[in-house]
Amino acid sequence: MTLKFVIKRLVFLVLVIWAASTIVFFIPRLSSRNALRERFGELARTGGFSPGDMEKIIASMQQQFGLDRPLLEQYWQYLHNIVRLDFGYSLYRYPSTVSDLIAQSLPWTIGLLLVSTILSFLIGNLLGGISAWPRAPKWMRAVATPFILLTGVPPVIMAILLIFFIGFKLKWLPLGGAYSVGQVPNLSWGFALDMLRHQILPALSLIFGSVGGWVLSMRGMGITIQGEDYVNFAEHKGLTGGRIFRDYYMRNALLPQVTGFALALGTVVTSAIIVEGLFGLPGIGTMLNLAIRSNDFPTIYGIVLFITITVAVLMTIVEFLYPLLDPRVRQS
């Protein structure tokens, strides 16, 4: 890995973040909606102050947020803030900043996302590898291959099915929420267990909702790799099936999957936060849901940008780690 490669990737990372920020900055300004006016109109309707006062409040707010300054100046200030991960104030929960809200809900999302993404990647690739491996026992392939059908069941639908069958019909696991109603968060084993029980269905939705995609793409890779000369030669060498599977077939087939993993991160994260919203876990997804429902635009944009930046950074990290797996890249 050369310095040139590192610099190239870092420049690319900055470009991606800049492009996303620019899109998120200009799109709302192209629209006719005025978030502040909508928000205060709502407040005025629910009673609080007279419509006359509203115009004054809006004007002062616009000044405070810098919305009365020239567009380019706003844009410059905005980019400046993004660099410091400052996404402004939440309209709905003013004076909390969007960054505060994200920081509060992030731990929930990270925990769920990390476990389910790693598990679905591992399970999916193993099953996909088996389903394309002609030397695998017939029953194994018969078990592994149908998982491809899960490609048609995205995490959101998986969540609905699981909520209905496991949560509602069988009553094995809670339907939603972060912990049982009436529980007060504390540091006891009982509470931890209760919390864990509430995480099972969301995690299963994400794992089974995204495992199909990995099975499918790994099967495609596996079919290509099993025809490679080195896999055949490994069999000519009289290696045991297990060793060929592990060292010659899986190791090579997994390499493009790692790149695919980086590319799929955006979809994985998006699915995760929507599923989180369905289950009402207090993570970023629920916050996004609330923000959409309450027209809290700064929060919507802040969350979207934060996730975009996170995904771009993670992708760059994967690209930096990739040479450790592939000696061919390491040298060139």
């Binding site: 492009a19 048609g152 495609g220 991160l265």
Partner: protein, 302 residues
């Protein structure tokens, strides 16, 4: 040594099976493609027959009795707002297909045009298009679509704007795929021969390269329809779709906001979910089958 031509009689001694027989035999082996096509056909039949026989007005609120479980009168039940879910599913399927084909078709079209321009003319044009695609690719498209859909006035959100929002950020994939294919195509001999014999750029594109690309364009189209249906579904589930329309995602969003499963109205979210599984599943199977058809290496196994 004297040259002896092959007498035709010996060659024709064994009958070759007809192409239809070969196709059927192939479909029997490529079960995924066959099942996918069958499901898709069934869904089309459901939608067409439904549009002809079911009163589509019942797909909108306050047309029928509320919260009825599935029965002979309402095979799919009715929802909290007084919609007949059978009618809603028929209209929703039609709208989903509309969004999928419109957005998928447009995305593929933009991809084919940009991919051709990029690969064929090369140079700074190629550099620009490629860089834009690569910079946009890592951005979680669905979230940007959330921003766009969220910024729109709710009254402006229709089935067509949904499709447009989806297209806006879904042309990079096909562009890169077609670009790569045209690049390999360009290296082939027949293109050089055409160039040397003075065929114009447009002539080469339309007469020589485009016909060879058709299988890839078809595969890209199916993949794009999948992406479009998926994206529109997610936006609708988040409550960013045209709220009045019975899009499958909208029905699920509405069911979710009313706590349908918690209240025991299970059919309300489950039926559109099953519909969505069938749509996405059939598209995924067809896509996989086309892959197998286009890639001879895949075809070789078993």
């Amino acid at each position: 040594m004297s040259a002896i031509a092959l007498p035709p009689s010996t060659q024709a001694s064994i009958e070759r099976p007809g192409s239809l027989v070969l196709l059927l035999r192939y479909l029997r082996r490529n079960k995924g493609l066959a099942i996918g096509l069958l499901i898709l056909l069934a869904l089309v039949a459901f939608t067409v027959i439904g549009l002809l026989t079911v009163n589509t007005k019942n797909a909108y609120p306050l047309s029928v009795a509320l919260k009825k479980p599935p029965s002979w009168k309402y095979p799919f039940g009715t929802d909290f707002f007084g919609r007949d879910l059978l009618a809603a599913m028929v209209v929703g399927m039609w709208q989903t297909a509309f969004i999928g084909v419109l957005a998928g078709g447009l995305g593929t079209f933009i991809g084919v045009v940009l991919g051709f321009i990029s690969a064929y003319f090369g140079g700074w044009i190629d550099g620009t298009i490629r860089t834009i695609c690569q910079v946009l690719a890592p951005i979680p498209v669905l979230l940007i679509q959330v921003v766009i859909a969220g910024s729109l006035d709710k009254r402006d959100v229709t089935i067509v704007t949904m499709a447009m929002i989806v297209v806006l950020l879904a042309w990079m994939g096909p562009t890169l795929v077609i670009r790569a294919q045209v690049l390999t195509m360009k290296e082939r001999q027949f293109v050089s021969v055409a160039k040397l014999s003075g065929v114009s750029d447009l002539g080469i594109i339309f007469k020589e390269i485009l016909p060879c690309l058709l299988p890839f364009i078809a595969a890209a189209f199916v993949a794009q329809v999948f992406v479009a249906v998926f994206a529109a579904f997610y936006l609708a589930v988040l409550g960013l779709g045209p709220l009045r329309e019975p899009l499958l995602g909208n029905i699920i969003w509405a069911a979710q906001s009313q706590g349908a499963i918690f209240n025991g109205w299970w059919w309300w979210p489950i039926i559109p979910s099953v519909g969505m599984i069938l749509i996405l599943g059939s598209l995924a199977l067809i896509n996989m089958g086309l892959d197998e058809l286009a890639n001879p290496r895949v075809r070789r196994t078993e």
